[in-house]
Assembly symmetry: C2
Homo-oligomer: 339 residues x 2
DNA sequence: CTGTTAGCGCATTCAA
DNA sequence: TTGAATGCGCTAACAG
């Protein structure tokens, strides 16, 4: 069946087309100085030989790989499958692809895998990097410095001074806005379920809540979760139980937690939103699945992926971008039933 | 600050260590014929020069990349974020990493991206491929043939004769078992919501349902969905409405569809499972989020990723594996509340 | 417009 | 044990 011959090289094609392989190379790279007759013969030869340029050789010669690595740094696998991640990923893939770059995604979810990726980065694996980090682990950032390739971060850190340009959502404003929304609806006593401490977003959202609450902020009505998951919401509601009769609303740092809170409130016999209103954050797909449907803060993850890619592309083009630039993407309140 | 000098090469290290660069290469590749004194000096030089071998050059010279590509072929982005995908991905990453391979994931979700990946594959981008396809699009499979590198598929196709070794779940048996489970609980009249036609799993599950039903199978009580999503479940329930009073149970091809069915049944005023029992498939995280919680078929996606990787690794080691081998992974019924 | 040549950074064979 | 030489497949600069 399939003849098991070795792969054709540029020289084979040259021989078949009766030209030097320099000419073939020019043809391949869209150089204009190739006669149409030669071009034709080369095209035919490539077709016949089923020739495809070798990637390693090309990378070595031109000192670039035409690849961009999308690095997902997560504490646990469950984070990996968030809609926000895959949407950004898909959109970045699209945007980078159109610009001629192949996006490859790398998963850093352990000491070991992080180490391996660090090696890759230092060996000039890709031309640029999109760092989609959901943890505060900075170890990879140091690697980038010596690699000397453009990097764009998916999150500004809490102190707002990033080592690389970042594209982030207006987390603080988003949480502030939806908190004000609750206050305006007449909720006087508000509790808050905060996300895990390692997350910059988590901290920013808490700040937004604090801003809206001002003097009325009561740390006794804040539950600090260990992760972003449903179960944490349930735990939070349990923790609040003694004071549940006095609270009018519970704002949550993300949708999953909000779902957990609602579930537990139902078990306690409270009605949502009549007895207690609940808000989420992210507008993930499950916001529509809960009963009542979640009133939450929407952020456009596709836009996130696209903006990150575009920024990286401009850096790859050589345009100067200040390392501390932070692009803020807007968030909007989505009013549904839970508040 | 950081001196902007060019990256050190193997020659720089050699010079600093006072040896030829051939010796450095031997040292790097664990060749034993290196004197300990030379080894020491080389180690120091590498440290000082912050040297890391260039990946492209190494790949070119040894004709291997030490990378495995995990290709996710999806019709829509929503598929990408399924728990089954990310769990398999994370586990494959782990397994391959331990064996010294870097896993990179590629997303094929458009004509364009598929084309780009085809190019990559032909240019010997990776040493092996894990094909996680959720569509029946075979275009990439032809590419692999000429690339002549090991490939493992995540799904056997419906006619059970794959062009490459595959690791798949026992979909047919799983759906048959849970259907029998319903029958044994006294459900006489069963409806079925089938997944999208392009999916091999979808077809296999339908077959399982048919097997369990035998003569009682009634095509009028089968709804053929266009995708795997919640909304399709709602549409299915609507389609069944005229005959809903006579059905005892609705088996669904996946959990999301089952959730949609339950939601719609609730709107129609039916109680689940008292009036109508509902089953899902996958045991995805949302199976726990519905009310009532889903009785469903569990498949271990981590195992899936691991088995696929191990099979690929054995092929990379040169062990012979028949192209048509299909490893079947077991499924189990998880009994909760919906049936 | 095209052929020739010199690397890109490293692995590996052959001598020494 | 080590140095020198050759080649991996391709790009790019230089002649012509």
């Amino acid at each position: 069946m399939t003849t098991e011959r070795k792969k054709a090289t540029i020289r084979d094609v040259a021989r078949m087309a009766g030209v030097s392989y320099g000419t073939v190379s020019r043809y391949l790279n869209g150089n204009e100085h190739v006669s149409s007759s030669a071009a034709e013969r080369i095209a035919k030869a490539i077709e016949e030989a089923q020739y495809t340029p070798n990637k390693a050789a090309r990378s070595l010669a031109q000192q670039r790989t035409s690849m961009v690595a999308f690095i997902v740094q997560v504490e646990s696998i469950s984070t990996l499958m968030q809609a926000s991640v895959s949407e950004a990923m898909a959109n970045a893939n699209q945007t980078l692809g159109e610009a001629g770059y192949q996006m490859v995604t790398l998963i850093a979810n352990s000491e070991e895998s992080t180490q391996r990726i660090a090696q890759l980065v230092q060996s000039d694996f890709a031309d640029g990097y999109l760092m989609f980090s959901l943890s505060e682990d900075d170890s990879l950032l140091n690697i980038f410095r010596s690699a000397n390739r453009p990097v764009v971060l998916s999150e500004s850190n809490s102190h707002n001074t990033t080592p690389y340009p970042a594209v982030d959502f207006a987390n603080t404003a988003g949480q502030r806005d939806i908190t004000n929304y609750l206050i305006e609806r007449g909720c006087a006593k508000l509790a808050y379920v905060c996300g895990p401490g390692y997350s910059p977003s988590s901290i920013k959202r808490l700040n937004g809540f604090k801003q809206a609450m001002g003097d009325r902020f009561d740390d006794g009505l804040v539950y600090y979760a260990d992760d972003w998951e449903i179960n944490s919401g349930e735990l939070a509601a349990v923790a609040f139980q003694p004071r549940l009769d006095e609270v009018d609303a519970i704002a949550c740092a993300n949708d999953d937690i909000a779902i957990g809170v609602i579930n537990q409130l139902h078990r306690f016999g409270y009605r949502v939103p009549d007895d207690i209103a609940v808000t989420g954050f992210d507008d993930s797909p499950i916001a529509l699945m809960s009963d009542p449907k979640l009133t939450t803060v929407r952020q456009d993850s596709s836009l996130h992926g696209r903006e990150m890619s575009q920024l990286l592309l401009s850096m790859l083009r050589g345009e100067a971008v200040d390392d501390h630039t932070v692009t803020m993407l807007p968030t909007t309140i989505v009013e549904r039933q839970s508040a």
